[in-house]
Amino acid sequence: MFNSLNNNEDVQNRNMKVLIYLLLVWIAFCILGFRLFHLQYVHYKENFERSENNRIRRMEIEAERGFIYDRNGEILVRNRPSYQIVIDAEQMPRKKDAKDSLFRLLLEIRNELGVRMLDSASLDTAFQRTAWIRNRPIRILEDASPEEVAIIEEHSQELPGVYAIIESRRDYPYGTLAAHALGYTSEISEKQLASEEYKDKYESGDRIGQKGLEQQYDIEFRGKDGVKTVEVNAYGRIVSEMKGMGEQPAIPGMHLVSTLDLRVQLAAEKALPDSVRGAIVAIDPRNGEILAMVSSPRLDPNVFSLKRKERNRGWAKVALDSTRPLLNRAIAGVYPPASIFKLVTTGAGMEHNLLSVNKYYPHRCDGGYQFGNRYQKCWGVHGNLNVVNALRLSCDVYFYQAGLEIDMERINEFGRRFGLGEEILGVDIPGERRGWLPDSASFNKRNKRSGWRWARGLILNLAIGQGQLVTPLQQAVLVGSLATNAGVYRPHLMKELRSRDGTVVKRFTPEIVRPGKMKESTHQVILAGMDSVVNHPGGTGKRGALKGIRVGGKTGSGEWKKGEKTHAWFAAVAPLYAPEIAVSVILESSGGGGALAAPVARQVMEAYFSRDSVFSRKENP
């Protein structure tokens, strides 16, 4: 071929080579063509389906949680949008080194303040969980700020499988207000998931109500999650929503109208500072509606909706606190009922005609009472008293003798009739305790280990309310139903459940759970006693009096530990002869009930009666 431009044979040879070359090209292109035909014609269907599945995903639509209102329509609990940074196992890289580099990259992401957004321990947990949680994204940063979301979105190309979603989180606009009654929400715990009660209703990752109304009415608040079909891109970001593919709209949860009255609650919160341990319960004795419920110290339920870090900090604060802010003292704090129990002793005596207005005991109060070889002191020197004056002055000596005469069986029976003792009242939030009315059998059973035996001398203590256990709720129920003499209604916080359009789905029907009845003569004596405590000279509860409205009540100073200040009790009802509100107040180890607890109860009642009356009177005719 060289140097032979005109050599025919060489030209042919060269043309042959060009032909061979083009033939090779042709063969190669034919192979490509066959393969293309194979993919695009023979296997068209599979490939088309795969491309569709690639981009189409069924997603759950979270149903919005129902709100909680007070009885007048003020919002107590609502929702707020909250950004969650999540990692999706389906979208994240599978290879180990790619995963590791994603991990490192995430750790290095800093927020606008230059602080790392994620900590390695929780991120590590999230990465481990991606191994077995594949059907839903896993949160790696909860409640992210808009700036943090923007930072993640900026780096979305480098962070496969990491993206932001919007969830709604609980918002408690009044912070700690009625926190124990309302409860809070948090992610369902492993323990709850394993329990029978929750197993079939919830799945891992759900945020559920914990404590209070949030827990009690969780199913109603929750609504029903919907399903939608969306088109997503390779980064898992939703590009569009697709219609007509079996979507189900989410059914938002019901709103709950609670029995709480915001103004009464606010007054109660104000009257009981966080530094004092204690509780306040205000109920309507005519139907059991709880108007206010305070337990102090409080917790802020908003903490549980925050970022993991802040949440943990807040959680540690309340969980490790020796004053136990998590305890709802109003229903789960048990205390000696103290002198308020003298109303029960009185009632039992009157019912069995062992006491009367004209009956005086032989031993006048000279500061104490000799029983066998024991000398039981009274808190003062009261002289000779009838039952009403004994109540007014809260004289122990009188009730020592009355107790011995009446005996515990009768007293306890009367107490149980009005809500104390062996059964819980059935308030519609979890955690209620039932208290204890000891008699010889239950006392011996309870003190089996310590070897204490029932003795008649114990009646002296029990007759004045030292030795029993009651909750503040029970105390309020007790004085309320003693004043109405119309039965003990189940105390409750739920007034109505309303659907989103405002129609009432369910209304709480008042329910009598204890007879709560006594003879009229008994009733009169008890009313007179409660009246004199507040309104008569020398009455221990005079600081509980209101102008223009007759308040009846009973003070108490519960001894619980030698050398400590007594628990200050005050239970009141007003108006005494047509009761609308019953309040019980306990201030732990503060001192005397008349001095400290009575003013607190008065503030609560004041708030109740000074409400915008047009509104409330109509509702409670």
Binding site: M1, F2, V11, Y21, A28, R35, L36, Q40, Y41, R50
Partner: protein, 421 residues
């Protein structure tokens, strides 16, 4: 005046060829547009498709410039260009920062120069120059000394980047040059036979021993037919046996990412989110296009970013998804027409430089097209070779347009190459 005919052998400007080239470029811009149009909200002059047009326009200017350079200049500047390209390759190997695994660029600020692209052209000129001046004979060892040396430097430098596929482009150019310069097809086959031995005997190939055994038999038969000197024949045969048995050792010396690419090539389904992801998504995209495609702009795979690097290496998947088999076939035919018209130049003028250079250009284009498309449809491992005229990318667009310019130059001035060498 000559009679005007589009396919005429005497036509100095091959308008048909130029038309095919422009058509391919137009399709390329269209595909880049549809692959990247989802990234909206940026001014059009910052979009990739607009940049691609800019690159092509610059490339056309360069091609026109190259067309009118005196043809005799090429052989004079071949050696300096070759040496410069080697220097650049060394620079990029030792001084370029490593971006995304492989440092292959020199950042000039306004332009990221890829020395391996420049080296493709320089090497093509160099090998064409040498082979057009020196006779080639398979039986003479000295035939291979200088081409071998010319080949080994850029090959090794590019391989070290590491960029196996580009290194193989140099191999293709060399083999084509040797073939057009005088080697027979069977002789070329003997040269590359050890390579086939390595591939076929690899344990990851199904029935590898059967394939390799058959291959060895064919090789032996050809060696016998060609009646080569007994020593040379035996040597080639033994080298093949040796290569086959040591292929596992060679395998162990591959880069991990190359190993993985080969591994997933054989079984892309094994790890759909890992290494095989690209290939699987690409095959799905192409396959879901069907016969006539989903229509322009309706590619769900591409528009929703399931396809990685869709506008560069996997542009063919964009084509397959949106225009289906018909679109793919048309593009393949266009490539064939391009190569056919280019090879016509080799038939038009008999001067070895023109012949070797034109066929070398064809080799580069052909290799890129085949390897890229085969990669997107799962016939070959993922290599990172772009598709000429269709893939987005400045450096490679320039390379392609330079090659087109060289072809036009050969066509227009090939008759000037007269006399001895």
């Amino acid at each position: 005046m000559k009679k005007f005919s589009i396919l005429g052998k005497t036509e100095k400007m091959d308008w048909f060829f130029i038309g095919v080239t422009l058509l391919l470029m137009g399709i390329g811009v269209l595909l880049v547009y549809s692959a990247t149009s989802t990234v909206s909200e940026i001014p059009f002059y910052q979009t990739l498709w607009f940049k691609q047009i800019a690159y092509f326009l610059a490339g056309i200017v360069i091609a026109i410039g190259l067309t009118f350079i005196k043809i005799t200049v090429w052989r004079k500047i071949a050696l300096p260009l070759y040496l410069v390209s080697l220097v650049l390759l060394i620079i990029v190997l030792f001084f370029a920062g490593d971006v995304k695994g492989a440092g292959r660029w020199i950042d000039l600020g306004f332009f990221k120069l890829q020395p391996s692209e420049f080296a493709k052209i320089a090497y093509l000129l160099m090998i064409s120059t040498w082979l057009s001046k020196h006779p080639v004979d398979f039986l003479k060892f000295k035939t291979f000394v200088v081409p071998g040396l010319l080949f080994i430097f850029p090959f090794v430098l590019v391989l070290r980047q590491p960029d196996l596929s580009t290194a193989l482009v140099f191999t293709m150019v060399t083999l084509t040059g040797l073939f057009m310069a005088g080697l027979r097809l069977s002789e070329v086959f003997f040269i590359v036979s050890p390579f086939f031995s390595v591939i076929l005997s690899h344990s990851q190939v199904a029935y590898s021993q059967l394939f390799w055994g058959g291959f060895i038999c064919v090789l032996g038969f050809l060696l016998y037919r060609r009646r080569l000197p007994i020593a040379l024949g035996m040597a080639i045969f033994l080298i093949n046996i040796f290569a086959g048995y040591t292929s596992t050792m060679a395998w162990n010396h591959l880069e991990p990412h190359q190993q993985k690419r080969v591994e997933t090539f054989f079984n892309p389904m094994a790890d759909p989110k890992g290494d095989g992801y690209q290939v699987l998504q690409s095959m799905t995209a192409i396959g879901s296009g069907g016969l006539s495609g989903k229509g322009f702009g309706n590619g769900t795979q591409t528009n929703l970013s399931f396809l990685p690097e869709e506008h560069t290496d996997f542009i063919f998947s964009v084509l397959g998804e949106q225009f289906g088999f018909i679109g793919c076939a048309i593009v393949l035919i266009l490539y064939f027409l391009f190569l056919w018209r280019a090879m016509e130049i080799a038939k038009l003028y008999a001067h070895p430089f023109v012949v070797i250079l034109s066929s070398g250009v064809c080799a580069i284009i052909f290799f890129h097209v085949t390897v890229n498309i085969a990669m997107t449809i799962g016939l070959m491992p993922v290599t990172g070779l772009p598709l000429p005229f269709l893939s987005y990318g400045g450096s490679f667009a320039m390379t392609c347009m330079c090659l087109v310019g060289l072809l036009c130059n050969m066509r227009l001035q090939g008759y000037k190459m007269k006399g001895k060498n």
